[in-house]
Symmetry: C2
Subunit: 250 residues, 2 copies
DNA sequence: CGCAAAGTTGAGGGATATCAACGAGTGTGG
DNA sequence: CCACACTCGTTGATATCCCTCAACTTTGCG
């Protein structure tokens, strides 16, 4: 369930050359939950799929801005890399999420997207999307919504980083991740953490040790069950209580 | 310079009724630094201006999503309010910035925008903007850029919250604020903090005491000069060094 | 099997929140 | 114009949380 990626995928390789699979506009819309009500859609437009091996970067910070990407399967980490070598994980996008939106303004990507498992993305040339959007109100609205959704998500993250203590952050992360899986049709109480403790720590503004300790304590308290990357949420209510223990918020 | 708002403005009142001033599309584009190269622009479209008194909210969390707002003058604080009463300042938008973008997705505002001084905004009905965007590639690109710019800014903020220590955060804030003033034609080394220490603390994920202490220490060290809300940056290089003192980043 | 990366756990200290008292600025009403 | 109250800001003492350093175990992989 959580690992549909078989060894076949890996052998298929990095180059999407051989069977350059693609998605129709309707399929893309379905993936992203857009309703293409009405609108004179040219069904011939198609979006090329690209496979990304675990550990490979879909794009790197500083690359010229090109397409944006809709994740079809897999998980990524989105990382902000400063010239000084600073390293900040900004999120863990997964299927139905869109990558690369941050490059629009500066015309080059400001972040790097690394696959945490073998993944597959649909390549969406941004100019083409904009053109299609001009004809279809629904599509245009959709791009706006994508961006707006991302903003809202980052607001939540700023709240998490700004006003929660370490354990609250970890608890909130687990609950939010559960919701994201639920929205995709998976269990919201049993899932795998695809990222390392280090990446999780970076995302949550904590060290890996603190993350590890928080998880251990939740486990001991019976709120969750952790074994390596496998997590099972046993007492979501308890986790919510822990989140409510904000530090310096009113 | 930093306080063009006179007592007259205040008497003009909250209701934009009397002289319902407005901005033409060209004026709006100039304010937001958009180039309307070519494109068949209907010059009759105009955008109503609205005054917002200090301390008044432009919109509140939960309000039905309506227009977005381009700030013409003044400063706001953008606050995320949770049902639990949690309070997180997300930013301090000022002239040329746009407010309300986060409401697009959920169709209601998730945050609240409060004026930190008497301010003036242009009301942009979002559907109208989308319609105009459909006709003009430049305008459409612009909306995308607005959203993308906001994303990039919040990435910076997540980096700040996730990997910097208290003094580094305050130093980074001062430098970034200076840049923002510079881009608007003001001094980047001498400006006023329009927000309280409490709001600043919320924004930076610190308590007001810690913010105060950091500023005092920078002052004593000769890097800046603070008197109440007035700040003068004397040694930007020093501030940059302090920022470089990241906590747990590589 | 052996190595490297990832994760866990413990001890200790430093950074920052908390609590508390005070000072300064601001607006209000007498 | 001053007294008052209130918010805002500063500073100090103390407590606490989490980072740092370190050792060890486990997992993954060639």
């Amino acid at each position: 369930m959580q690992q549909q990626v078989t060894s076949l995928d890996r052998q298929a390789g990095d180059q999407a050359a051989s069977r350059a699979a693609s998605l129709s506009l309707n399929q893309l819309a379905a993936l992203l939950n857009i309703s293409l009500d009405g609108a004179n859609i040219d069904q011939r437009v198609s979006f090329t799929l690209r496979r990304v091996q675990q550990g490979m970067a879909l794009y790197r910070a500083g690359d010229q801005f090109g397409p944006i990407y809709a994740i079809r399967s897999g998980t990524f980490k989105n990382v902000l890399l400063d010239a000084n070598g600073s390293y900040q994980v900004l999120g863990f996008p997964m299927a139905s999420d869109v990558l690369g939106l941050d490059g629009i303004e500066a015309q080059h990507y400001r972040t790097e997207a690394v696959a945490l498992e073998d993944s597959e993305v649909a390549i969406i040339p941004f100019p083409r999307l904009a053109r299609l959007g001009g004809k279809s109100g629904a599509l245009q609205q959709f791009v706006y919504r994508l961006l707006s959704r991302q903003l809202a998500r980052e607001h939540t993250q700023m709240w998490l980083l700004g006003s929660l203590g370490a354990e609250s952050r970890v608890a909130a992360f687990l609950l939010i991740l559960g919701e994201r899986y639920a929205r995709r049709g998976y269990s919201d109480t049993r899932f795998n953490l695809r990222m390392t403790r280090l990446d999780l720590g970076s995302f949550l503004g904590l060290t890996q040790e603190t993350v590890s300790r928080a998880l251990s304590r939740f486990d001991q308290a019976g709120a969750i069950q952790v074994r390596n990357k496998e997590v099972r949420i046993l007492d979501a209510k308890r986790l919510h209580q822990i989140v409510a223990h904000a530090r310096h918020a009113s």
